[in-house]
Symmetry: C2
Subunit: 326 residues, 2 copies
């Protein structure tokens, strides 16, 4: 009897050791970034640890563009916008002569964006408003199922960072609720976030235009108005998170100066984790910090050491970037 | 062997019968309202039924004041506001002479509200803004733990409708996510919704004032500004639901004309359930429909039969109203 018990204990210890050894982040190289994530998860999920966090308070927030998927050579939502401009141009012949549409049709982004916020607002309203929320949902689902990324020639849904998918899964299986907190449009992300990131629509926070309740063809609908409702960037990120969740997250991942306030707010308490994805891999993806139009990373890098934010180097910390490269 | 199997089958059938007989809504009298709720839950959770709904789409929305707890003689949030006016009056001696504060201090609500939206906005901003979200959270928690309802002399958290607590529990245990969708302040409800309704802060939708991210005493905070952000009533209810969840619920409970658009939107698809709580029990609670300042129920009653919304009579359908009466 004793021998049998000893055997069982041995087996239990072995199993425990095995499960401990199972790597939750196989696409991450060993290093400070990976180690910090694993240690963070271990301490907040261990009831014996002084920094244990109850399940209902385990909330993690993730920027989307440049943090969960690639944002170069331009945001995916811009790619959608350009495709939609092409589709709508048939009904708007005068766009061929009118800015910013003329420049957009010629794919001259620099010129199109030179009109500043007013031009950007015009492009968004022309392509994203004036329809029901269900029709917009259908448009996005149709687009994301077939549009290809210009460099990788893969679906945008394949241009997600495999190491970050593993982080999402690791957090989720550790009792976290993962939220996307994007400067991009909430209704651009919601139609596919569940399928691609395992994140349901209710856990997506983003910029939005106003909607109006009205009866369309006898059916109650929400109509997308050509009016900005909320900009979920910089100071807007903590504001949007609190408005949506009513709680302060304990982990935040971002990649640009637009994430500073979110990182600062989340890491102002302990325990917490703040992480910045640094794009320094021109060969496998892109390399850019402060000299870029999109995803500028400047002040956040300067603040990182003082604030204890971990810098993840895509070049050094990520064994693989996209699953299609694996 | 055969006999044993027969016995087991018999037992299984018996157990099944027993569990079927277990009443999920013991504080509801038998009748159309109770029957409709039970049949709805059965069909949407039965994978064999043509109207089966996947778990991720089982979303139910509940108005708060007058639907989940009593709203007479005035909204609980108004009671909080009055108590806070008293507390703050010491720092604002001129309130004794200034409307609407003078009338509020004298508990002359009719006069206080005679100033219309401008007066209401002044009262709200004086009592609900000008502090951090964490300080407001503490204020509400302190208030709800001790303030007593003027008629029942019970904590407000005890003035919740027992039959509705059973509905919340029944829906939740049937795989639903329950959301509060209130015309009242989201940050007034979130501090206690989990403890009282089992609904976490992220599942509360309500009216809100704007917040601003700023550093207060060296700590990042969200500061409550004296400016309306969103009114979650009438057309605002479907708008607020979609902004927060990104999905259309399949069940809605309300008690006044402010819930018409929410009910109409939710019940514009099948399967769905729309229900109106009718206050017709002056003895145990209150009796009011269209002749009331708060919770006016007029058009919704007219629309109900055409829209297939079920009217719940508090007098006839509810065996008990409050647990302290049980
Ligand atoms: Ca970004
Ligand atoms: Ca109500």
């Amino acid at each position: 009897m004793k021998n049998r018990e000893a055997e069982q204990n041995k087996q239990a210890t072995f199993n425990k050791g095995k499960s401990r050894e199972k790597d939750p982040l196989p696409s991450w190289n060993n290093g400070q970034a990976k180690q910090t994530i694993i240690e963070f998860i271990k301490k907040v999920t261990d009831p014996g640890n002084a920094q244990f966090v109850a399940m209902e308070d385990r909330i993690a927030v993730f920027d989307n563009d440049g943090t969960l998927w690639t944002e170069q050579p331009y945001y995916s939502q811009m790619a959608f916008l350009l495709d939609r401009i092409d589709d709508l141009a048939l009904q708007h012949p005068k766009w061929k002569k009118e800015q910013p549409f003329k420049a957009l049709l010629q794919r001259d982004l620099k010129n199109a964006l030179s009109g500043g916020l007013k031009a950007i607002s015009e492009m968004i309203m022309a392509t994203h408003a004036g329809m029901t929320t269900s029709d917009f949902d259908k448009l996005i689902k149709a687009w994301i199922s077939k549009a290809l990324h210009p460099r990788f020639e893969k679906l945008y849904s394949e241009c997600v960072f495999l190491p970050m998918l593993q982080v999402l899964e690791y957090f989720k299986s550790s009792g976290f609720r993962n939220y996307i907190v994007s400067g991009g449009g909430i209704d651009f992300i919601r139609p596919w976030s569940k399928a691609i990131y395992g994140i349901p629509p209710s856990q997506v926070i983003g910029s939005s235009i106003k909607t109006q309740y009205k009866i369309v063809d006898g059916q109650p609908q929400l109509w997308r108005l050509p009016e900005i409702n909320f900009i979920d960037d910089e100071e807007g990120k903590p504001v949007g998170i609190f408005a949506n969740i009513g709680q302060q997250p304990i982990a935040a991942f971002g990649n640009s100066d637009g994430d500073i306030q979110m990182l600062e707010w989340v890491t102002s308490r302990e325990p917490s984790l703040g992480m910045i994805i640094k794009h320094d891999d021109a060969l496998r993806e892109w390399s850019y910090t402060k000299d870029t139009l999109l995803g500028k990373l400047d002040h956040a890098l300067v603040m990182a050491s003082d604030k204890n934010w971990i810098i993840t180097s895509m070049k050094n910390d990520w064994r693989t970037i996209f699953s299609f490269m694996d």
